[in-house]
């Protein structure tokens, strides 16, 4: 190179300052010269493995010692961070180690927000804030939902992001999610309809909660019900397919129907489901309305006598001893006729 004096007399080792012997091997790095024995790590005084060194404040270090002395440690994995270092939350991080603490997204290029000692992405921060406020975050725009949210395919949204599948009108929170393919458990088939269009679709509405019924429908009392909403009017337990009893537009379980209305057959002591014979302060089912003496079945037309408020057919009554018949007749004549209370 012209202008640069390359004679040995003008060359000195950058480390020890001595000159070089003729034929001696000289290390040249970026214009500086060293004796081979002087070109070593400033920390361990050993040559650089494979000639690789790191320079810091004018001194050269082998890779190992440089890391030990100066390289930052990742706040997550504890390894040295070589290359790009993310300085955040009072620590150093590999870019791939610095992630949102809620959704695990890499934050290096997205930016982050500190939320109660956590690093969160913008979306998760909004969600966390919404939860604190008791509100939802729209799954589409990630903004807070101030009014009622619209639930759709398992997420919540601002209703105004959607339009009715049928009439195209912008939706409000009254919109209804409908399983377009009944029987599919997954909800990715669901569609949204405005309330008007939904009502026109003929989906049964539960008589109790006024919501549409998408699973099993119970039809009773002239209405439709969610299985779990068709309950005893007294104990409010769902019938779940068990028999129910209707009285004045209400449904009751067996126990409470009998408790409230007392139509138990005198003979079988079971709730009377079908026709009831009522007489002498008692009730009978069709199967058990019979003469109390000979057990022969009776019907509405059968004439019978009353004996201790039990029915006795004519044939049996006539077999009673005459002294008993006389007493019964006398008692019957004496019985005060129905008096006004």
């Amino acid at each position: 190179m012209p202008g640069i004096d390359m004679s040995l007399d003008n060359m000195f080792c950058s480390r020890c300052g001595d000159g070089f012997e003729p034929h001696e091997k000289i290390v040249n790095s970026n214009g500086e010269l060293w004796h081979t024995q002087c070109f070593v790590c400033a920390q361990c005084f050993r040559p650089f493995p494979e000639g690789i060194f790191y320079e810091f404040e004018g001194r050269k270090y082998c890779e190992h010692d440089f890391h030990v002395l100066f390289a930052p440690c990742c706040g997550k994995c504890g390894e040295f961070v070589i290359g790009r270092v993310i300085k955040a939350m009072n620590a150093n991080w590999h870019p791939r180690c610095f992630r949102c603490q809620m959704c695990d997204k890499e934050l290096a290029d997205l930016g982050f927000i500190r939320n109660q000692g956590r690093a969160l992405c913008h979306e998760c921060n909004a969600k966390a804030k919404a939860v604190d406020l008791g509100k939802y975050v729209c799954h589409k725009c990630h903004g807070l939902i101030d009014d009622k949210p619209l639930r759709f395919r398992g997420e919540v949204y601002h209703p105004y992001h959607f339009n009715c599948t049928a009439c195209g009108v912008e939706l409000n929170s009254d919109a209804r999610e409908v399983r377009s393919r009944p029987g599919f458990a997954a909800n990715e088939m669901n569609e949204l309809y405005c309330l008007r269009c939904h009502d026109k679709m003929g989906i049964p509405i539960c008589g109790a909660c006024r919501r549409p019924i998408e699973e099993r429908v119970v039809t009773a009392l002239g209405k439709h019900w969610h299985v779990e909403h068709f309950v005893c009017a007294k104990c409010e337990k769902p019938f779940l397919g068990h028999r129910h009893y209707e009285k004045k537009g209400l449904a009751y379980c067996e126990t409470h129907y009998h408790q409230l209305f007392g139509n138990l057959c005198f003979v079988c002591n079971q709730v009377i489901a079908g026709d009831v014979f009522t007489a002498m302060n008692k009730a009978w089912c069709v199967h058990h309305f019979a003469c109390s003496v000979c057990d022969q079945k009776m019907n509405q037309k059968t004439k019978f006598y009353e004996f201790d408020l039990k029915p006795v057919c004519k044939k049996c009554y006539e077999k009673f001893p005459s002294e008993l018949k006389r007493r019964l007749r006398k008692a019957h004549e004496q019985t005060p006729k129905k008096m006004p209370l």
Partner: protein
């Protein structure tokens, strides 16, 4: 289910009953109607104790005098009806019948009940009307029948009702018509499910005020109490109607009168019912 009338008088008494039994066996009918078949002994019903499927056995209006213990073999029997026979004694084994719900031994000649009679596991209706029973001839465990909902003791000879009657927690019907009752125990007031009480034709003068605990005047209730020598205030209320009596015995005035009456120990009214002609006494007369 009416039996076809048999035109000729059967050569053997056995045939009428046997025909019904054979028929029931053939069609596997679990309900056996043998009312008014002139049966005087279980010997006339061979094979009956092997018909384990039967749930009802009706033998009313016959002349049965003895009930063999083997009847308890019929483990599926729920209804057993002996009304109007000549039974003087019941076997203890009946009380062990596991499904027997209704037992009718009305109009027989029972003077007593066997020891341990009250052991029925599921008995609901017990009809002992028109027999010769009284408080001294009931077995010790008679009122242990907690499942009982109706007890018919009309036309018997009770002068007192044991206070243990209060243990029959499920009792809805209690008939004591035409006995010789001098007083009712206050424990009747514990029977809070009672909706029929028949005490007409006895020797009652006062009612324990505890009877006022019962609901016997609702549209589903009955209290029959005529033909007793009631004290004047009760008789006066009764002439106005049973609800008036129930209102009256709930008053402090009545409670005072009742306590005074008990303390005074007035004369016991004479027996009112002439029972010499009762069919249940037939044996004693013969």
């Amino acid at each position: 289910m009416n039996q076809a009338p048999v035109s000729c008088i059967p050569a053997s008494k056995m045939s009428k009953a046997k025909k019904v039994i054979d028929e029931a066996k053939e069609i596997q009918n679990p309900e056996l109607d043998l009312a008014d078949k002139s049966i005087s002994s279980f010997d006339e019903m061979p094979g009956l104790f092997n018909m384990l499927n039967i749930t009802r056995l009706t033998l009313s209006h016959n002349k049965i005098q003895v009930v063999p213990p083997g009847l308890a073999n019929l483990v599926n029997l729920e209804i057993l009806n002996f009304f109007n026979n000549q039974i003087e004694e019941l076997p203890t084994s009946l009380s062990s019948m596991p499904k027997l719900r209704i037992l009718n031994v009305g109009m027989n000649r029972l003077d007593c009940l066997p020891r341990g009679f009250g052991a029925f596991p599921v008995l609901e209706v017990l009809d002992l009307t028109y027999n010769n029973l009284n408080e001294t001839t009931l077995p010790g465990n008679f009122f242990m029948m907690e499942t009982l909902r109706a007890l018919y003791l009309g036309d018997n000879d009770f002068e007192f009702l044991p206070p243990e009657v209060g243990q029959l927690k499920n009792l809805q019907i209690l008939v004591l018509r035409e006995n010789d009752l001098i007083e009712l125990p206050k424990e009747v007031g514990d029977l809070n499910r009672l909706r029929e009480l028949h005490i007409q034709g006895n020797r009652l003068t006062i009612l324990p005020p505890e009877i006022g605990n019962l609901d016997l005047v609702s549209s589903k209730s009955v209290l029959k109490m005529e033909n007793n020598p009631w004290v004047t205030p009760i008789a006066d209320q009764l002439s106005l109607g049973v609800p008036h009596v129930m209102d009256y015995i709930r008053t402090e005035t009545y409670r005072f009168l009742y306590n005074r009456h008990i303390a005074a120990k007035g004369p016991v009214p004479p027996k009112m019912n002439d029972k010499t002609r009762k069919l249940s006494r037939a044996r004693q007369q013969s």
